[in-house]
Structure formats: C-alpha cells, structure tokens
C-alpha cells in the first residue's frame, strides 16, 4: 500500500482493496487443511472428516440503510448466504448476527431491519443462531454496522480459481441493479426510474446449477463490489487464464443501462447482490444455463464469456463492434457528471 492512511477506495472491492488485503492482512494466514486465508476466496473451507466446513463473514455498512428492493438487514443475510453458496455450500447450517448501533438509532428502524433479516433467513433456510449487540456514542459509528458469519457443510468446494482455457462463463441474471439503486439514492442525483436492488439469497439457484453441472462447475463468485469486471479479473488472475467477455450478451435492465449511460458509469463495474458468475466446462454450459433459467432467480441467466489461454490475467471486452481490454475497477464508481 503506497500511502500511510487507509482511503475509501480500499473498501470498494477493486484493485486497491485487494492490494490492502495482500499487503496487510495476508500475513495473518497460516496453513490449513483446506482453503484458507491465503486463497482470498469468498470464504474458507476446512476439511472435517470427509466433508468440508465452509465459513464466511461479512460486515455491512451500506447507506442508505433502506433502499428500493431491500435494506441492510436483507443484505447482511443474503450476502453471507451467497458467499457460502459461491463456495458450493448451498445448505447453510446457521448464521450469526453482530450489530453495532449508534446511540440515537431509531428502534422502529431496528425492528424493520430485524423483520427483513427474518424474512431473508427463512427464504434461504439459514437460521440465525447467535449474535452480539454493541452501542457506540453518537457520531462514533454511522447509524448501524451489521456483521454476519455463516457456516455450512459441503461435500465439494468450488473455488474461484478453477477456470481453464475453453471454459464458458455464465452470469445468473442482469447486472448493475443493486449498485445503481443504492448510488442514485445516496447521491441524490435527481434520477427517477424503477431502479431496485436485486438482493436475494442464491443458495437455491446455485444448488440447481451444481445439480446440473456437477464437477463441471469449476469456478463461482458473486459480483458484489467491483461488479462483473472485478470478478472476471479475479477469476482470470487466479487461474492464470485470459477471459473474453461478450458485452452484448451481458443482461442489463433498461433502467440500469439508462442510469449508467447518463452518469457515465459502466454497468460492468457496478455492485450486484443477487447474482453469481459461474465458470463451467464447455460440455456442461448449456445444461447449467437451462437449470439456471428454470429457477425464478435465474430467468435472465446468460453465457457471457470464455476463458482463453492467451493474455493470462487480462479481460478482453468484445463490444460487438470491436475489442479492447476491460480495466480492473479501482474503487467506487463516481458519476461522471454531465
């Protein structure tokens, strides 16, 4: 990390955050029987007998805490359930919930958040079994911070590093919904239009994909902060393959496309909270796609890219009209204001 102080970009899910983690936190890693910290995957997977114990944790600081399509409560449950699912653990055993509240936080808001968490927990089949509560003084924390940790047992772990040249890359639905819904609210950009977060638990959807694809599902990751671009860079980098992404094949809702066009933001770098990127061996790609589309959360699933032997670690964007490299996102996309 070049500077002496942490900057906002270090939490934004892109290059800078990865650099911070590698420079500062990787030193915490120690060898484990399984996938540990050094893999920098969505979670950890520890061998227990002939199965895997998958563990993941996430802190949620989204603002505004209530947004079209969801709130921080729903986000905290789904985010963790989804990280488990991305490792192949689609049957969550349990979630924890630790909350840090700012003095003065409205009780009614807290109960609304709790109701969302309960609903999401039921949707995912992931019971919340323990937690922690702290209150900090006014101004010492911004409203509410929620941390959830999830555990699950899995027979097979899917990493994000398994791509080989020729593998197909699928996305389970439209991209950019969550980030644009939150951003336009947060910055009060004077935009109207039906922008809703896609926040949803994906374990059921992923279960279907794994059932259809089995061992041919070789990489999975959810495109949260940093969007699809970030995930493709990670998958390409870890597997040492190139990736070509067909821009015209990436599903984007018209409202999201419009908001992005006007603000000068690329939907490919915008956060999603109800989508997965799945790498599949070519023979199984159509099968997995069909299974995704048969599920309510996967109706807009599409095959959007292919892994290549050339240009390891790089992502090529086929725009339909030409080609260029897709840059790895650095930090939070700020609107280019017209």
């Amino acid at each position: 990390m070049a500077g002496e102080k942490v900057a906002l970009k270090h939490g934004a899910g892109g290059r800078a955050m990865r650099a911070l983690i590698e420079d500062v936190f990787l030193a915490l890693a120690s060898p484990v029987d399984g996938i540990g910290l050094s893999a920098l995957d969505d979670g950890a997977a520890l061998r227990v007998g002939d199965r895997w114990l998958v563990v993941t944790t996430d802190s949620h600081v989204v603002h505004p805490i209530f947004f079209p399509g969801g709130d921080i409560g729903r986000l905290s449950v789904c985010g963790t359930v989804n990280d488990l699912a991305m490792m192949g653990a689609t049957e969550p055993l349990a979630l924890t919930c630790a909350v840090i509240l700012e003095e003065g936080f409205a009780r009614a808001d807290l109960e609304r958040i709790r109701d969302s968490m309960l609903e999401a927990s039921r949707e995912a089949g992931a019971p919340i079994v323990t937690g922690d509560t702290k209150v900090m003084g006014r101004g010492e924390v911004d409203g509410v911070v929620l941390n959830t940790t999830g555990v699950a047992l899995a027979d097979r772990v899917v990493s994000d590093a398994g791509l080989r040249p020729g593998d197909r890359i699928l996305v389970t639905g439209t991209v950019g919904d969550h980030g644009m819904a939150v951003m336009t609210r947060r910055h009060q950009l004077g935009l109207e239009g039906d922008l809703r977060s896609d926040v949803a638990p994906l374990n059921g959807l992923v279960r279907e994909a794994l059932r259809a694809g089995g061992e041919d599902v070789v990489a999975m990751k959810d495109p949260t902060r940093g969007g699809l671009a970030s995930v493709l860079h990670e998958m390409a980098g870890k597997a040492k393959v190139g990736v070509v992404l067909r821009e015209p094949d990436v599903p984007v809702n018209p409202e999201v496309r419009a908001a992005c066009e006007v603000l000068g933001i690329d939907p490919l770098v915008v956060a999603n909270e109800g989508k997965a990127v799945i790498g599949v061996r070519p023979a199984a790609a159509d099968r997995v796609l069909a299974a995704l589309r048969a599920h309510p959360l996967g109706r807009r699933a599409a095959i959007v890219g292919t892994a290549l032997a050339e240009r390891p670690g790089q992502v090529i964007l086929d725009t339909g009209l030409g080609r260029r490299l897709l840059a790895e996102p650095d930090g939070e996309p700020l609107p280019r204001i017209c």
């Binding site: 239009g193 018209p254 908001a259 000068g264």
Partner: protein
C-alpha cells in the same frame, strides 16, 4: 464534460426559458437560451452542460441511417471509380512481379 446525450422534452417552463427533459428515463432541467429552434413537448434535444443546443428533427434518425447506407454503397464496390483504381493497382502488381 457532457457528451451531448439526446433527450425528450416533457414540459416547457412558463417563461419559456427552460424545459424538463427526459434522458432514457432520467429527468433533467435544461435551459433553452441557445437552442436553434423553438422547442415543444415531445421534441428531442441535444444537451450540453445544462443547455439545449439543438432540436433534433424526428426524421433525422431515419435519414442518418439512410446516409450510412449511402456511404456504404459509395465506398468499395459501389463506386465505379474505385473499381477502376483497384483494377489499375492489381494490374500494376502483376506487372511488377513479371
């Protein structure tokens, strides 16, 4: 700097100096000081830094696409002169090799 995105005029202000314009579902208020023609709701205008700079006639999209087709036709095989020139070059190449 704004790219100059076209938008659809929804309403004109009472004093006629500004308009509410819809860009792909996103609404902005634009000033009308420098637009080249009077503007009505339903018109399309080009925006630059908060000012409408051009009223885009509705027929222009179709006309532009036709222009592209014409350019395509004139270029390459549609242009007799081009064929002559290519023929010359081709025969020139033959000669140089011989």
């Amino acid at each position: 700097m704004c790219l100059g995105v076209p938008g659809k005029v929804l309403t004109i202000s009472e004093d006629g100096l500004s308009a509410l314009v819809d860009f792909f579902g996103v609404k902005r208020e634009l000033r009308l000081d420098i637009v080249d023609e009077p503007v009505q709701p339903g018109d399309y205008v080009l925006n630059h830094v908060g000012f409408a700079i051009r009223r885009i006639p509705p027929s222009e999209v179709a006309e532009t696409l036709a222009l592209f087709d014409q350019i395509l036709k004139e270029a390459g095989s549609g242009d007799l002169m081009a064929e002559d020139v290519r023929g010359e070059i081709a025969s020139g190449k033959e000669r140089d090799r011989g």
